[in-house]
């Protein structure tokens, strides 16, 4: 089955990102195709590489990056939601005149059309978040 995943909450505060990760990993292991993982609302905070949890805790951001590397996963962060919350890649930082950028490896920033497209192209769109 071709599956789209929507992550609507940030890391650590809500379990949604953990659940989305576990679901995505399990689906891939079962041989399903993940068309795209789209991060919206506070979900964009899953994509900042400045995340540094205590050593005995899981690193939610790195975990997504690694899964992306292993499976060539398309991890897309909504640009409008990301701009509101201070998540940007190098190009966007330059364009906005910011002195830093923080997008983690394996993620890309794009528009909301990518979410609608995931709904159209996938057999199921599965949402994680409140």
């Amino acid at each position: 089955m071709k599956i789209g995943v929507l992550v609507n909450e940030g890391p650590y505060t809500h379990e949604a990102s953990d659940s989305a990760y576990n679901f995505t990993k399990a689906a891939l292991e079962k041989g399903h195709e993940i068309y795209r993982v789209f991060f919206y609302h506070d979900g964009v905070n899953n994509a900042t590489r400045l995340t540094e949890p205590p050593r005995d805790d899981r690193n939610i951001v790195n975990r997504w990056s690694e899964l992306s590397k292993q499976h060539n996963l398309d991890l897309v962060v909504c640009i409008a939601a990301a701009q509101r919350r201070g998540v940007m890649d190098e190009n966007e930082a330059k364009r906005q005149g910011k002195d830093a950028h923080n997008l983690a490896e394996g993620f890309r920033i794009s528009g909301l059309g990518q979410l609608v497209e995931a709904g159209i192209q996938s057999d199921r769109l599965v949402t994680f978040g409140d």
């Binding site: 059309g113 979410l115 949402t127």
Partner: protein, 131 residues
């Protein structure tokens, strides 16, 4: 898969998209950012509808004034949806009743469905996105 999807020969797939609005308009960002997705979806020529349940029914309330909140009043956007061919707005009867709202309180024309009818409408959809 909906019938429309099978009928499409070119120009891509048309699916039934329902955006489910469950939150009051200003306490969280979900209503505003949800509306942004709805507007984008119009560009994809999909069969789009919106459902308003729980506190989501407050999103449609007439006469919103957000000055004291220091937030933008985005309620006029609901009236603009018609211009994007988004005309199917379903409101759950029970959610209105427990909040003392009638259709007179809303800024737009809506279809009122009871709990069971709303569930049936949801079951027809290809894609449900809930905010």
């Amino acid at each position: 898969m909906s019938d429309q999807e099978m009928d499409m020969e070119e120009g891509g797939v048309v699916k039934q998209f329902m955006f489910v609005n469950r939150k009051a308009p200003y306490g969280t960002i979900y209503a505003l950012e949800g509306l942004e997705v709805v507007l984008i979806s119009a560009a994809f020529e999909q069969d789009v509808s919106m459902a308003f349940i729980d506190d989501g029914v407050y999103e449609l309330k007439k006469g919103q004034d957000t000055k004291a909140l220091g937030q933008k009043n985005f309620s006029p956007t609901y009236r603009a949806l018609e211009g994007y061919d988004i005309e199917k707005l379903y409101v759950e009867k029970e959610s209105m009743a427990v909040r003392g709202l009638t259709v007179e309180d809303f800024a737009v024309d809506v279809t009122v469905l009871d709990h069971a009818e709303m569930a049936a409408k949801m079951a027809e959809q290809d894609v449900l996105i809930s905010f």
